[in-house]
Symmetry: C2
Amino acid sequence: MSDGQGTDGEPVDPRLHEERLARLIRLAARAFNRSLTLRLSTEGVTFGQWIFLRILWREDGLSQRELSDRAHLTEPTTHTALSRLEQMGLITRRNVEGNRRRQHAFLTDEGWRLRDVLEPLAIEANDLAVEGLDAEEQAVLRHALTVMIHNLERDEAEAAARGQRVPPTRVQNAV
Amino acid sequence: MSDGQGTDGEPVDPRLHEERLARLIRLAARAFNRSLTLRLSTEGVTFGQWIFLRILWREDGLSQRELSDRAHLTEPTTHTALSRLEQMGLITRRNVEGNRRRQHAFLTDEGWRLRDVLEPLAIEANDLAVEGLDAEEQAVLRHALTVMIHNLERDEAEAAARGQRVPPTRVQNAV
DNA sequence: CAAGGATTATGAGACATCTAATTTATTGAC
DNA sequence: GTCAATAAATTAGATGTCTCATAATCCTTG
């Protein structure tokens, strides 16, 4: 079924082909996420927790709002995720500079310690993924992905300017 | 923060960098999904419904099990998705060849009709995404993604052989 | 051909995410 | 200085996905 032919043998638009870009990218993202999820699970950390920890390792003390922006998740989602991280003893939340509205998240010693354990796992997944790709190919890959993200986000911004909203995109693991 | 430096100015492993592959791929997949979700929503179709319709347009009459495999979703998920599609009048379910266990899904006329409306939207999103990339770059992109998917799925298969299971990978929209 | 094991679908319950509504705090305008 | 508008966090409720359990059917083999 990867011969670019429909069931009756007529040629198919390659952009609808099984190997179309959208599908390849979705599969690659899924495979990457699963690879990392599997490795993190050996340390009792979920993929969602990794996302927030990783942001905080770079910028400790962000507000919940800022974390939501960085993670591309809504505030309620961030709220519950942070509550869990706090309960696990990996972060604490508190106000700063007399602002009693914003809640800032700070890593605990244990949260910092996890970094040394988890980051090597991410590096391992990355190295594994690019096995067999030379530096040139990797550079083109990065460039192409960056261009695509830019194109698509510009389009979404234009749609937003016209008042069009994107509904929730589920089916995270789909083809 | 995209200068390859940590907060204290020390160099950072590029594989942990903001522009690391896993993040770019996740963002690209997300942008693609959102782009398509937005377009489909104008026709009252969700992303999840698109996934199953697209499979059926290629292979009408698959069983629920086969659809689950194709879509990389579990059977209960497929079950509820198909129930919704049936309720919308886009598919029907029935047994074939005297096998009363398997439920096969068949597109209705309306389900087939939608193809002419929706596929152009997918082509539009694809064309938009690759704007500014020449054929050579697109070929390298495809190749690189295919290699990565292969590498990562091989790794997962090896882990599975050791009895390691991948927990649910949530945070579909994450960084 | 009967019994046990495998396969397929379905049901029940858990969980992460979303949108919408509510609460609380801050900022800005008069 | 007070009040309205804005911003941030939280709560409530809906939904799609998952895992695990159960039911129904099919297949194999003694």
